[in-house]
């Protein structure tokens, strides 16, 4: 059985083509299998966000193709892509993840509603999810009433809601103190271990890097190293 979830082939993203071209992503090959817990690392401006956006179908590569779960997303129409993202990919952004006028519960429920999941299932899943992120008592809180770490945990719950093929997280801990960052990583790691949820997250935080099973390093848009972590986390 083929376990490939992401297969990016020769992809490049070039900005500023007319003047001095900037290769934000330069001829990248990336293969991710189900159950991976992979960190994308590199200095600021190395192309982490651009690469995650390409894989997430938020942006189209200038060269190469990206296959998610066997489907070539570079050939999809914009509307097909929206629907594909909704059903197959979970997103956690660096900040500003939640809709401020909705409660934590509604933020998660909203995405499930867009996915067409019926009320009964939604309620059930929301309870499971909030239990997993340890925020069962914050269901009715607005994002502004939650700490940064709590907001990111809700974002993880939301990304999980649709049972996506994988979750992309772009520097999810960048704005968190170390305890909250650790806490978020714990939750992500647990989901990876217990539910085999595939995570691909970017970071330049060494403590986060240490917990990844695989570390891909980007410099100037190129992959310069791709290593399985020696120390497997407990």
């Amino acid at each position: 059985m083929d376990n490939t979830v992401i297969d990016a082939h020769n992809i490049s993203k070039i900005y500023n083509k007319e003047n001095i071209p900037v290769y934000a992503v330069n001829n990248v090959h990336l293969h991710v299998e189900k159950g991976e817990f992979t960190a994308l690392v590199g200095p600021s401006g190395s192309g982490k966000t651009t690469l995650l956006n390409l894989i997430g179908g938020l942006d189209l590569p200038d060269e190469g193709s990206i296959t998610i779960n066997g489907e070539d997303i570079t050939r999809m129409s914009p509307n097909e892509l929206i629907d594909f993202r909704l059903k197959n990919i979970g997103f956690v952004f660096q900040s500003f993840n939640l809709i401020p006028v909705l409660t934590a519960k509604e933020n998660v429920e909203f995405i499930m509603q867009l996915q067409g999941i019926d009320l009964g299932k939604r309620e059930q899943r929301i309870h499971v999810l909030f239990d997993q992120i340890g925020l069962s008592d914050k269901l009715e809180s607005r994002p502004s009433q939650l700490s940064g770490g709590q907001q990111q945990r809700v974002a993880v719950a939301r990304a999980l809601a649709s049972k996506p093929k994988f979750i992309l997280a772009d520097e999810p801990t960048a704005n968190l103190d170390s305890q909250s960052a650790n806490n978020l990583l714990d939750i992500m790691y647990k989901l990876n271990q217990e539910e085999h949820m595939t995570f691909l997250f970017s970071t330049h935080d060494q403590r986060v890097i240490d917990r990844a099973k695989r570390v891909i390093t980007l410099v100037d848009g190129r992959i310069v190293s791709d290593t399985a972590s020696q120390i497997l986390p407990a």
Binding site: N53, L58, N79, I82, F93, F96, I99, L102, F110, L114
Partner: protein, 405 residues
């Protein structure tokens, strides 16, 4: 469903901005309704004064009379006609008149006029002549050759109550005849042009001059209700096929024309108001969208499609608009009801101008019940169209760029 909740809560995010939209919708609707209320009041007032002080509901003449005002074309079957009119239940009152075109001459000059030979008692009922007197005591019963002239003509010819003037016209055989009259009063109607062209004498005096004793050229009929005009016209016309029987609309086509012209003007004014409203909504909604660029980008990234995003913007606009409608509606209702009772005085706007168009200087606005639904729909359509541009701007956002902001 969640979109509905989001739209509702988004309105409360920037209360003062939402309040501005609600207020502009209310103001737009208020102004739109008030313009129509004023016009409706003005037109109703104009029609009332046309009917009750000028032409009556119906007028009867010999067929050819009004072409040349030939004195010999008096009503042929007068007694049976009057008999019939008296027996018609819809008729409230009537008056007989003799009419001649001629000239009024004083020591200082002369002016072309129409002489209206009338019976004061009848005329007080049918055209409220007594109420129009602003100087002099009017016709004294026994005296002969008394005359009432309009304020405008009196001013133009520098005439006063008590002055003597000479009226000249042709009699029924075509001879020039004239008579000396003394001014017994000066009248003023709400139509100054009419005042300049018309003088009143007693019917017997004029008939003497014209040589048609006991006859009349015109019968004016006042009905119990305006709505009876057409049916009564039909009924009388069937009985007197050869006579010309005209309704007030036929007698004053310019009033009919004015009503439709005023309708058009009021639509233009409403159009301008709605245009301003549209700009307010476009501006405000655009600001609301720009402020939420990142949020919208995030929602699109997660998989919210264009239709859902569009619905969100549309719903927000709809909530704001619907918030404004009852405020605008009720304030317009209150003000127009108040003014309907107490009147709105336009004196400062130029009494002369109003009078020259046949309007009185106090307007009693009338709530335009028949046009409310249409006006509200216009406001809603305007709001809908105005939110299209901001909505399109939102749809054009690229999630990647929006998220980088």
């Amino acid at each position: 469903m969640m979109i509905l909740i989001m739209a509702w809560r988004n309105i409360w995010r920037n209360k003062s901005r939402s309040f501005v939209i609600i207020l502009s919708v209310a103001l737009g609707l208020f102004a739109g309704i008030m313009v129509q209320a004023l016009y409706k009041g003005m037109m109703r007032d104009r029609i009332k004064s046309l009917i009750y002080t000028e032409v009556g509901h119906l007028q009867i003449h010999e067929n050819e009379f009004k072409k040349e005002y030939e004195p010999s074309l008096y009503l042929q079957q007068l007694p049976s006609l009057i008999q019939q009119i008296k027996q018609t239940p819809q008729v409230k009152a009537f008056a007989t008149r003799s009419i001649a075109q001629g000239m009024l001459a004083s020591t200082t000059g002369s002016s072309g006029i129409q002489m209206n030979g009338i019976n004061p008692e009848q005329e007080n009922v049918v055209s409220a002549l007594k109420n129009k007197l602003i100087a002099g005591s009017g016709f004294q019963n026994q005296k002969k050759n008394q005359l009432l002239i309009g304020k405008k003509l009196a001013k133009k010819m520098k005439l006063e109550v008590g002055n003597k003037i000479v009226l000249t016209c042709t009699d029924q055989e075509g001879n020039m005849v004239s008579g000396a009259y003394r001014i017994a009063g000066i009248f003023q109607s709400s139509n100054s042009m009419w005042d300049e062209r018309n003088v009143f004498v007693q019917q017997d005096d004029l008939n003497d001059m014209l040589g048609i004793a006991g006859e009349s050229h015109e019968i004016v009929i006042l009905l119990h209700q305006d709505e009876l005009t057409l049916t009564t016209q039909q009924k009388l016309q069937n009985q007197f096929k050869k006579l010309e029987i005209e309704t007030w609309q036929e007698l004053s086509p310019e009033t009919d024309l004015m009503v439709s012209a005023v309708d058009i003007t009021s639509y233009i004014i409403i159009g301008i108001i709605l245009f301003a409203l549209a700009f307010g909504i476009i501006n405000t909604m655009l600001m609301a969208i720009l402020e939420r660029t990142r949020e919208i980008g995030m929602m699109m990234a997660l998989g919210m499609n264009k239709l859902q995003l569009f619905s969100l913007v549309l719903l927000e606009t709809t909530f704001l608009t619907i918030g404004g409608v009852p405020i605008g509606y009720s304030s317009a209702w209150l003000l127009s009801t108040y003014l309907h009772k107490y009147g709105l005085n336009w004196e400062s706007m130029g009494e002369e101008m109003m009078r020259s168009f046949g309007f009185s200087t106090t307007i009693y606005p009338e709530f335009p019940t028949d046009k409310i639904a249409g006006t509200i729909i216009f406001v809603l359509i305007t709001a809908f169209i105005s939110c299209l541009y901001p909505a399109i701007k939102a749809l054009q956002l690229q999630p990647v760029e929006a998220l980088r902001k």
